[in-house]
Symmetry: C2
Subunit: 212 residues, 2 copies
DNA sequence: AAGCATATGTTGACGCTGTCAAGATATCAA
DNA sequence: TTGATATCTTGACAGCGTCAACATATGCTT
């Protein structure tokens, strides 16, 4: 009933911080009810403003969705950075953690992941520039890491780097999707599936490189 | 304006073959406008009946979507059977063809593939029994083939069969999705990506088994 | 301090959607 | 012939995204 407003208690005509309030509420609504349950009207209602108030902060629903997805990419990239910044792990163990981390992120935020990598946004070329700027580095990073893994002898050197990174990412993406779309796999299989994939992608031979 | 009706030309109150007419038109509409453009009202309009006529043949929109997806599974299983029934191919070549065939099917029918394997149907447990009966054999087949590939020495014997089939299918699914969702990959990369994946999954050693 | 542009909020309205209820018409079995 | 059943119709409703018009607060310029 009573919405949190900044500064004072008296309800003012202007909200004061509607954009970020909307984003937070949208994230919550997304997590709770899924993308289908996320309507602008319900969102506005939840935040305590009229149906069209959000239009002063987001051009349309698509822009709101892009903004949410954008946050997701930032968040995931931090998670990934934390994994890569660990010290004292062999390349293979690091890759294993990365793989597990990716799937876990998707499993923990299924609706967000669907938004970040789903056709709702990408298929109809409706991604905002802000979203692209947040997402593309994530794609490039995958290629760079693949190149590194190849040079470390972790992955086969004779495969084209771009293709290899498309395949390995495709595998993570596919497993994530099978999981969050509730088809053919469930959470209790995650760890074993990840390990299986890592085994397939990494060479069993030559492990005498220094870490990192 | 004038819709095809069976038997005679005089427009009769009853359509005569509405269910299959709807399914065909829905498939077309799906292919042309995507899942977002597929509304029951437009569909009814296109077929030349009133908005609620389809409800006498499908309980709701979900049942129509399930029926379309069901056709997709039947169709894909025939494609797959044709590949497996080929003679004179080495196990590896056969697997390669299967992999390419899977991705091609998805790339040629992106909207249908999205329906068959997307969360629209599966995530909220809304699949009809008919759809399940068409889809599950496809999943099981994947496991059985994986078992065979392992015994043929094509894939590593020491990996759990279910996990291995989840990972290999996950890879195909992931590549298909990256492709049809228009993210990170496009059709010109398909063949190279498939070959790369097949190389990773199949042993380079020991190829002296008889075909099939 | 006054005035005005701009940012941010509101209600009203439109067309689209899925779907239910009630009534019309055709088909089929007894 | 009759009555049940299948099929198709119009009317209605709530929910959706979004535009237009209007209201109010904020902030800059003079």
């Amino acid at each position: 009933m009573s919405q949190l407003k900044p500064k004072q208690n008296k309800p003012s005509y202007h909200h004061g911080d509607l954009r970020s309030t909307l984003l937070n509420a949208a994230n919550l609504l997304l997590k709770e009810t899924g993308i289908e349950g996320l309507s602008l009207r319900k969102l506005a209602d939840k935040v305590g403003v009229s149906r069209t108030a959000p239009y002063h902060h987001f051009k349309d629903k698509n822009q709101l969705l892009c903004a949410i997805a954008e946050q997701g990419f930032v968040q995931w990239q931090q998670d990934a950075a934390n994994i890569f910044n660990q010290t004292g792990l062999s390349p293979k163990d690091k890759y294993r953690q990365f793989f597990h981390g990716y799937i876990s992120y998707a499993a923990d935020n299924p609706e967000l992941y669907d938004l970040m990598f789903g056709r709702t946004i990408w298929k109809q070329n409706s991604a905002t520039n802000e979203l692209r700027n947040a997402a593309y580095p994530s794609f490039n990073h995958q290629v760079e890491m693949t190149k590194k893994w190849q040079s470390q002898g972790l992955m086969p050197k004779d495969e084209n780097t771009l293709r290899l990174s498309q395949v390995t990412w495709g595998t993570m993406h596919g497993i994530a999707r099978l999981l969050i779309d509730g088809i053919y796999a469930d959470r209790s299989h995650i760890d074993e599936m990840c390990d299986c994939a890592v085994n397939l992608f990494t060479q069993q031979i030559i492990q005498n490189q220094e870490p990192n």
